[in-house]
């Protein structure tokens, strides 16, 4: 049985989640804010701010230098304009680059010492910061593999990591899971070796800015031959106003190791747009495998396009060793603007990259998202399944590159790119770039665009579902292949999110 069929059998869960969620007023469930005293760095960005962030994180000299170098580069760069998104110019000097809860000035020794207000925030978000098996009492939970029951969480609040759970248990397995600021202090040799090795400092405008000002994020190291004993996750919460979140995630899967990593994110409802520019780097050595799943649910702005998060993210995985495997799964429902292309460098022979994506854009949201599959090694394989859903006046673009280099003999790519339109004021666009520089590789691309079918909706309604329920059901069906790629808890959350994100899209 596949993951999703399990959900169908132990249905109580998804339906309850959907109902609990729909019962809440407004369609963005996480729009509340935490009232908490914050320390800010002065607005704007310059070498002093970069040094300040570095010193707040108690970083060694080499790190400060690295940041300053990035800043010098960034100053000479221009914002990219090729994406199919439009938004008012961002004043990069009118943003706070560092915001830390006052109570975090002295790093808490353990989660017990963390400000209760912060703990309450995560509790309200439904993120377990207690070290307990989740999903207890759910029918069918006993069918789940043991490692699926525990999820270690690194909780990032504005600019800092509040705490990381299960660290001791993970350490026993040799796994390092901590905030990146801790890693820079405690594991400088690993950070020095890998930071910027997948996404170079000067990769693109936002990645360069991130390299200069990133404040926190997560760090993962899985030693050779280790199968990480539980899923790891980072939960990003933007709370402070006028503040950008610049997090940096570095994941290293050493030879023959395995890890499944989840990322979630939310932010309060605000009239003014906020910037989020993250960088995620993943290194996968020989025979190692990484699954990276995201449910991106940043505040999307209101139905008139006011407020929301501008999400400019660079995510890239480097399959450095032979037979390395990476799988990106993303559910993008939030943000006013999404600019995001989780990519795979298939350097090792026989390495594999997969990208499964659901991107939902409703109201005035704009999403320009996709992936790059860069085949460098022999017999490399990649698979892209993208499901774009547009509703309201939203614009949704799939942008994907598949590149077969001369040495990538006998490599394969399969791309399937489906767009679904709800209503007639939205748009779906598919922009594939294909480069094949050897004659033994094969690239297949299939694309479809369809409208939500009236007959399907009527069929559902004639059985008693209201129109929104019917749309959510049909859309969930449309996304099924991608939902199936998600770990189970995430799949359920994502199904519910699909319903919520499409509220108000019909009728």
């Amino acid at each position: 049985m596949t993951a999703l069929d399990k959900i169908e059998v132990k249905e109580g869960v998804d339906q309850d989640t959907v109902d609990a969620v729909t019962a809440l007023s407004g369609n963005y469930k996480y729009g509340w804010e935490t009232e908490i005293e914050m320390d800010y760095a002065p607005k704007g960005v310059n070498p002093d701010i970069v040094r300040l962030i570095s010193s707040k994180n108690e970083e060694p000299e080499w790190m400060t230098e690295w940041r300053l170098q990035a800043f010098t580069r960034w100053e000479k760069m221009n914002e990219p304009t090729w994406a199919m998104v439009s938004y008012p110019p961002i004043d990069f000097q009118d943003i706070y680059y560092y915001a830390r809860p006052k109570s975090m000035a002295v790093k808490p020794k353990s989660l017990d010492d963390v400000d209760p207000k912060l703990l309450a925030t995560y509790a309200k978000l439904g993120i377990p910061l207690k070290e307990q098996a989740i999903l207890a009492g759910v029918e069918g939970a006993e069918d789940m593999p043991a490692e699926g029951r525990k999820v270690a969480v690194d909780a990032v609040f504005d600019s800092v990591s509040v705490g990381t759970t299960f660290q001791a248990e993970l350490k026993k397995a040799g796994v390092i899971f901590c905030s990146i600021s801790e890693a820079i202090r405690d594991h400088p040799e690993l950070v020095k070796k890998y930071l910027g090795s997948v996404v170079p400092q000067s990769d693109n405008y936002y990645a360069t800015l991130n390299s200069a000002v990133f404040s926190d994020g997560s760090f993962v190291y899985i030693p050779p031959g280790v199968r990480c004993p539980m899923e790891l996750s980072t939960y990003f919460r933007i709370n402070a106003e006028n503040t950008g979140q610049f997090e940096r995630t570095l994941i290293i899967a050493d030879k023959g190791s395995y890890v499944s990593y989840l990322e979630g994110c939310t932010a309060p409802k605000r009239d003014v747009a906020q910037l989020h520019a993250a960088v995620v780097e993943i290194i996968i050595e020989e025979d190692a495998e990484v699954k990276y799943s995201t449910v991106q649910n940043w505040y999307p702005g209101d139905e008139n396009g006011k407020g929301g998060i501008y999400n400019f993210v660079t995510k890239r995985a480097d399959c450095r060793g032979d037979r390395a495997k990476v799988m990106w799964t993303q559910v993008e429902t939030g943000s006013a603007v999404t600019w995001k292309y989780p990519s795979c460098i298939l350097r090792g022979d026989d390495s594999q990259g997969e990208f499964y994506s659901i991107a939902i854009a409703n109201n005035m949201q704009q999403a320009d998202t996709g992936t790059k599959m860069v085949h460098l090694g022999k017999n490399t394989k990649s698979r892209i399944v993208s499901k774009g859903i547009s509703a309201g006046k939203a614009q949704n673009t799939y942008r994907g590159l598949v590149s077969m280099h001369p040495k990538a003999k006998n490599s394969r790519n399969y791309t399937q790119c489906d767009s679904l339109l709800i209503g007639d004021q939205c748009g779906a666009h598919t922009v594939p770039y294909i480069e094949v520089k050897n004659n033994s590789s094969r690239v297949e691309h299939e694309a479809t665009t369809s409208k939500v079918d009236d007959d399907q909706l009527f069929y559902c309604r004639s059985r008693g579902m209201d129109e929104e329920e019917a749309v959510a059901l049909v859309v969930n069906g449309f996304c099924k292949e991608v939902l199936q790629a998600l770990p189970m808890e995430f799949a359920m959350e994502a199904q519910a999110l699909v319903a919520i994100s499409l509220e108000g899209s019909v009728g």
Partner: protein
């Protein structure tokens, strides 16, 4: 149960095309009525107008379900009020498991009626029992709704939905077409099992053989948007033997 009076309906997009032209029909609780009639006479249109499909405008007449005006309601409200249509052409919904679909439907109706949702366990038990009666196997319950189902499987699946939703007024639009002899028997048994004094059926069919299994109380002939003749089960036999020519001529 169902009172249809002088119902007129035309195409929403083309007012020149009037399909139902003054249709009157009264179905009492517990009764089974059959409608027969030539292709294109408006049988499916009647079922769609009753269940609230877009695309038709009712220009005159009424349709009441237990005294409540059906035509004022949204399709899902009609369903919650107890109306069910087994489609002539059941619709495929890719990616949506048959079981998920059924459960969503059952619970949506329960919610609309202010009843408690069926627990996952109770639902499963019920579905499995009812599926078994219709010889619908576990695999078909898991597969996406109607996708890749054979014609006969689709029809049996409609009857499964009906059995699960327990409607008061069931309309079956050519549920027998495409069924082999054994499947016809299964479907008829399914319908007969649901027959009760407070549930009524409107069975649209072209063939007498279904009516051998589901004995109707009344048979009506629909032609050109109107009922032109009504009678007992013998009327179906007459159609079977002689076709519509005599009846049409008699009505003209």
């Amino acid at each position: 149960m169902l009172e249809i009076n002088n119902l007129h309906a035309e195409l929403e997009t083309d007012a020149d095309v009037t399909i139902l032209k003054g249709l009157t029909l009264s179905i009492k609780p517990g009764e089974v009525h059959a409608i027969m009639g030539p292709n294109g006479s408006g049988k499916s249109t009647l079922s769609y107008v009753l269940s609230g499909k877009d695309g038709y405008s009712v220009t005159a007449g009424s349709a009441m379900l237990e005294g409540v005006d059906l035509l004022e309601m949204e399709p899902e409200e009609r369903a919650a009020a107890g109306l069910f249509l087994a489609f002539q052409y059941p619709v495929e919904i890719p990616g949506v498991g048959n079981m998920t679909f059924l459960r969503t439907a059952v619970n949506a109706q329960r919610k609309a009626r202010g009843e408690e949702e069926l627990s996952a366990g109770d639902f499963l038990k019920e579905v499995r029992a009812k599926a078994k009666d219709l010889q619908i196997d576990a695999d078909m319950l898991k597969r996406p709704v109607n996708v890749g189902f054979s014609g006969g499987e689709k029809k049996r699946n409609e009857i499964l939905q009906m059995a699960m939703l327990e409607p008061k007024m069931c309309i079956l639009d050519e549920t027998d077409s495409g069924l082999d002899v054994d499947a016809m028997k299964l479907v008829a048994d399914g319908v007969n099992a649901l027959r009760s004094e407070n549930r009524s059926f409107l069975v649209i069919t072209h063939y007498q053989r279904l009516l051998d299994h589901i004995k109707p109380d009344f048979v009506h002939i629909l032609a050109d948007g109107k009922i032109i003749k009504s009678g007992g089960p013998e009327l179906a036999l007459e159609v079977e033997n002689n076709g519509y020519a005599d009846i049409l001529a008699g009505a003209a």
